[in-house]
Symmetry: C2
Subunit: 364 residues, 2 copies
C-alpha cells in the first residue's frame, strides 16, 4: 500500500516543496478543529447551524440568493446540469473537451442523467464566444471552467465572458460556472466573486484546491434551483447525516486563504519567469493568469524523471510530484501555488531552476 | 436556525437521555482523532493506507473478498442494485415497502438508474420466503434489510433467511443485504457477521447507527463487484479526494463498539419490559431481537408530547426526542439503545416509566 513512485518519494523528501499549501494529512483536519467548540452540534441531513451558516456566507460571497454544500463538485455539477436540462426539456449541454465532466467522472452525466454533451473549442485552447455562437444545435446549458485547468489554467478576457453571458441569456441558454478555482481568478480579473458570478445562472466552487480544505463543494443559484438541487443531492447519496468535518474545515481554510489569492498569483508569475528562463522548457500560459500554469518539456517522462530527482536531491527543492505524458517524446506537469512558495529561500529556488535548465538543455 | 421543537428541547435538557450513544456533536470527531498521528497521509480518491486498511478489515469481518468505503448507504445500495441489474440485463429489483430506498431516497434508484422496484410483503410485517417465491416476475436482485428498521427492527428466523438465500441462488436472483444495523442482529442470531453475510451476494453496512461514527458505509462482495462499484462511486460523486474524517472515525468506533452489541440487545429487552408494563402502550416487536423497538401509543402526537415533556422534567430521564404520527389518533417512537442506557440509575428509569404509565393510562 506504500507508494513506489520514485518521483513522489524524492519530492516528499525535499525540504522545500514548491507547490500547494502543505501535505494532505490529518493535521489539516486537526488544525481546522482547534478553535471549534466540541459541543457544537452536527449538521443533520442538510439542516442545522453549522451547514446553514456556511451556506449563507458563501451565497453572499458569490452574490447568489442561495447555496448548498455538497460532498463533491462531481455531484454538484451533474445536478446543476440536470436541473437546467429538466427545466428546458432538452438533455443537451455544452462544455470543453477537457472539462472535469468529460475526463474525470466516468461519464456520470451520461450514465446517471442521460445528458448528451457537446464539446466546445478543442483540447489546446479555451472556449470563445464564437464557439458558443457556432453551436449547431440548441443546448440547455453551457458550462465554463474558470480557469481551464487542464490547459494550464487559461482564462478568457473578462469582456469575452460578458459577451458569452449576454449571448446565452439572449438565446435562453443557461450558463453554469465550474468555479473549482474561481477565487484564484479574482486577482487577474480584478473583480469580486460576486461580479463574475453575476454572469452565470449557477456556480460551483470547491474548497480543496486554492482553499486547501479537505473536500467539499458549494452549488449556488436562485432559491428554486438550490431547493431542487437538494432533492438530487439526496438521490445521489450526498445528503449525509453529517457533513461537518468537511464544512468546518472548508469554512476555516476559506476564511484563512480567500484573501491570499493575490499572493499565489504573484508567486505563479514569478515562478513562471524562472521556468521561462530554462531554455528547453515551455510555460503555458506563457504568463499565468491565476496561481497555476503548466511546464512542457520535450523529453519523455522516463528521461525527465531522473533529472528532476537529481535536482531535488542536489537542492532540497521539490518542483513536482507528478508528470504527465504528452505523446511518446514529451511530458508536462502542473504547477499550482499556495502557502508553501513563500517559505522557499529564493537562492535555493534559483539554484534548482539553474540545474533544471542545465540538465534539460542538452536536448536542444 | 435554532430548534423550536419543545420535545427535542426538553429531551436535550435531561440528565439521563435513554437512547443512543451520546450527542452528535463535534466531540465525536475529536475523540476519534485523539490517538491518530497528525502526519498520517490522507487517502487519495479511494487509494492509500487509511482507506485500504479499513476496507480490508471490514471485508474480513464480513467474510467477503473485498469491500469499498462509501460516503453513504444510499449511494452504496443503489450502486449494488445497479450492478446486479446490469449483470442480468434486467432492471427490476424487489424489496420491502418500508425499505430505505423506497421511502428515504427521493426515488434515486428510479430517477438515476431507471430501476423498477417490486414491493414484497406489506408495511406491517417482514419479508417471508413465500413473498419471494410468489414473485410474479423475475428480478435481478432481492434486498433484505436486517433488522427491518421501520417496523421496530424485526428479523426473520435464521432458518428462513437460509431458505430465502437458497431459493434465490437456485433461481439466479442476487441477494443483497441492507445491513445498516447488521452488527445489532448478531446477539439474537448468535451468528458471526461472516456467517450471515455468506447468505448474501453483496452487503452494505453503516458506521453511524449502532457503531456511532459520523457517517459512511461499506459495500462488500466479490472483487469484480467491488471494482465495478468504484466506477459508479465516481459517477455518483462519492469518490472524494479525502474520505478520512469518516474512515478514521468509523474505524475508531467500530473497534470500540462492535463487541458491545450484546449489551445493547440486553438493554433493549430490559427497557421493553418496562414499556410493556405501561398499560396503554404497545411494544413492537413485543420482545426485541436487536437493540431497538418501537413504542406505540393510542394518543395523538399533540397529546403525548406534553406528557413526555412532563415526565422528562419530573424525572430528568429523556425517553425520545421524536414522535411519528400513526393516523390522527395514535403515534409511535423508535427506541434504539447504545452506550447511554448503562449510565441511567435504574430507580430513575423506573420512576420515569411509572409516571409515563400513569399519565398515559387514562386514555384506556
Amino acid at each position: 500500500m506504500s507508494t513506489t513512485n520514485p518521483l513522489v518519494e524524492a519530492f516528499n523528501q525535499t525540504a522545500y516543496p514548491v507547490i500547494g499549501h502543505g501535505k494532505r494529512n490529518v493535521s489539516v483536519l486537526i488544525e481546522a478543529l482547534e478553535q471549534i467548540d466540541p459541543e457544537l452540534d452536527s449538521d443533520n441531513y442538510g439542516s442545522g447551524e453549522v451547514i446553514e451558516r456556511f451556506q449563507a456566507q458563501i451565497a453572499q460571497y458569490l452574490g447568489k440568493p442561495s447555496a448548498v454544500f455538497f460532498p463533491s463538485g462531481t455531484m454538484a455539477q451533474q445536478i446543476a446540469l440536470r436541473i437546467w436540462c429538466d427545466r428546458k426539456g432538452l438533455k443537451k449541454v455544452a462544455y470543453h473537451p477537457l472539462s472535469h465532466l468529460e475526463i474525470h467522472e466516468e461519464q456520470g452525466l451520461q450514465e446517471l442523467h442521460q445528458i448528451e454533451s457537446i464539446l466546445l473549442a478543442d483540447k489546446t485552447r479555451i472556449i470563445r464566444l464564437e464557439d458558443v455562437v457556432n453551436l449547431k444545435e440548441d443546448v440547455a446549458c453551457v458550462l465554463l471552467e474558470l480557469p481551464q485547468r487542464e490547459i494550464g489554467g487559461q482564462l478568457p478576457e473578462y469582456e469575452e465572458l460578458e459577451a458569452i453571458s449576454s449571448y446565452c441569456r439572449e438565446k435562453g441558454i443557461k450558463l453554469h460556472l465550474d468555479g473549482a478555482r474561481l477565487y484564484e481568478t479574482l486577482p487577474y480579473y480584478q473583480k469580486t466573486a460576486e461580479e463574475i458570478c453575476s454572469l452565470f445562472d449557477s456556480v460551483y466552487v470547491s474548497f480543496y484546491k486554492g482553499i486547501g480544505g479537505i473536500a467539499g463543494a458549494m452549488l449556488a443559484g436562485d432559491e428554486e434551483f438550490t431547493k431542487e438541487s437538494k432533492v438530487w443531492k439526496r438521490r445521489h447519496g450526498g445528503d449525509l447525516i453529517s457533513l461537518y468535518p468537511y464544512i468546518l474545515s472548508a469554512e476555516y481554510y476559506f476564511n484563512e486563504r480567500k484573501d491570499k489569492m493575490g499572493l499565489y498569483y504573484e508567486a505563479a508569475k514569478e515562478l513562471a519567469d524562472f521556468y521561462r528562463a530554462c531554455r528547453a522548457l515551455e510555460v503555458r500560459p506563457q504568463v499565468p493568469v491565476s496561481n497555476m500554469f503548466h511546464v512542457h518539456v520535450p523529453l519523455p517522462k522516463s528521461k525527465l524523471e531522473p533529472i528532476l530527482i537529481s535536482v531535488y536531491q542536489d537542492t532540497e527543492v521539490g518542483l513536482t510530484a507528478n508528470l504527465k505524458e504528452n505523446g511518446e517524446h514529451a511530458c508536462y506537469y502542473e504547477v499550482s501555488l499556495g502557502d508553501r512558495y513563500a517559505k522557499i529561500p529564493k537562492a535555493k529556488l534559483a539554484q534548482a531552476m539553474k540545474l533544471l535548465d542545465e540538465r534539460t538543455a542538452d536536448v536542444l
